[in-house]
């Protein structure tokens, strides 16, 4: 039966310290942890999915208004952030690999690099949010009425509502991710991880890659809607 995991007696003694009592073998524990993390990521897909569904509906209804918002979307910053997250995914994958090879120095290095990239992403996002505030594009709270395209004001407000919800949720997940990476770094310094036990590194890696994937979709959907219109600030 494919899902039954039976002990083969090959695991080294280190297993005993991380093996929880209700699991028969370390392999079973890792299988369960992996399936659990993927199940959790599926819940995240559906969670963000609600916002993507809303976006799809309104983009279809109000395409011109949505396209006009590209005037205010900084493709350079957005594109840079996309590249930053892609780099952080590489360093995260390299961190997992280092843990698998029991390379503590590299593990710490790549974890720190991932965190630096993550922090850079948030800093750039901070600049973008600041720009939105200055230009009065926060729906309901600080909205100057969309003076450049007044005919699209209402519908553009919907897009910006979705923009802040989606990027805000994403940023929140990044912050949580940074917290998790800090925890990993502390554990790595204590030499907890090695070839026989690196599950937390891999699990948090899966989470980090997922957050990257969300951004992979957010970038074209939020920043490039009306890029072909070549709208420019005066």
């Amino acid at each position: 039966m494919a899902d039954i995991v039976v002990s083969e007696g090959h695991e080294p003694a280190l297993e005993g310290t991380h093996l929880k009592h209700h699991f028969a073998t370390a392999a079973q524990q890792m299988d369960a942890d992996t399936l659990g993390m993927w199940t959790f990521l599926i819940t995240e897909v559906l969670f963000f999915g609600g916002m993507f569904a809303s976006y799809a509906v309104y983009r279809n209804l109000y395409l011109d208004a949505f396209a006009s918002t590209s005037l205010y979307m900084n493709v350079v910053l957005g594109g840079t952030n996309t590249a930053v997250l892609i780099c952080s995914s590489l360093t995260m994958a390299l961190a997992v690999r280092a843990a698998q090879l029991s390379n503590r120095k590299h593990l710490q290095l790549f974890l720190i690099l991932t965190m630096i990239f993550g922090a850079a992403f948030l800093v750039i996002k901070g600049f973008e949010y600041h720009d939105k505030w200055v230009e009065g594009l926060i729906p309901g709270i600080h909205w100057f009425g969309y003076p450049e395209f007044p005919q699209y004001a209402y519908h553009a407000e919907i897009l910006f509502f979705l923009y802040f919800c989606m990027t805000g949720m994403h940023a929140l997940h990044m912050v949580v991710g940074l917290g998790l990476l800090s925890y990993l770094l502390i554990q790595a310094r204590r030499n907890i991880f090695g070839a026989s036990y690196y599950t937390p590194v891999e699990m948090i890696g899966l989470y980090w890659h997922f957050v990257d994937i969300v951004w992979i979709f957010l970038f074209p959907l939020l920043y490039l809607i009306g890029y072909h219109l070549h709208l420019h600030h005066k």
Binding site: A2, D3, V5, E8, T25, A27, M30, D31, T34, L35, W38, T39, L41, I42, V45, L46, G49, G50, F52, A53, A56, V57, N60, L61, V75, G79, T82, A83, I86, C87, S89, L90, M92, A93, L94, R97, Q100, L101, A195, E202, G205, L206, H209, F210, D212, I213, I216, F217, F219, P220, L221, L224, Y227, H228, L229, H230
Partner: protein, 113 residues
């Protein structure tokens, strides 16, 4: 079956990283030109390819169990169900339905104008 850990090669990871960056540049470049409805289609296709690379290689799904692959597919299918069916409500609201009378002998002609 037990999953024996697969350790990826550095070269593979770097290749994926490079491909992702190239794809990002590509999507921005294509978006610069007005291709009508193709813009969104190409943008989504590129995003799907990028996401697939991350899932398949970075997240290790290539070397994982069939069960995990099933779970990944299921998540995507459920997301599609929600988006597509909701979207279909809006896209079919404008379809007009003209009820036909039982018979013209009834006298009043078509029921709705």
């Amino acid at each position: 079956m037990t999953v024996h850990a697969h350790i990826p090669k550095v070269g593979t990871l770097v290749a994926v990283w490079a491909a992702l960056l190239v794809a990002t540049g590509l999507t921005s470049t294509v978006a610069y030109f007005d291709l009508g409805w193709l813009n969104i289609v190409i943008a989504l296709l590129i995003a799907v390819v990028k996401a697939s690379l991350v899932v398949w290689i970075f997240m290790g799904v290539r070397h994982t169990t069939n069960l995990t692959k099933l779970f990944v597919v299921a998540g995507l299918v459920w997301l599609s169900i929600m988006v597509l069916i909701t979207y279909s409500d809006y896209s079919t609201r404008s379809w007009n339905y003209q009820p036909q009378p039982w018979s013209h002998a009834a006298g009043n002609g078509p029921a709705a104008k």
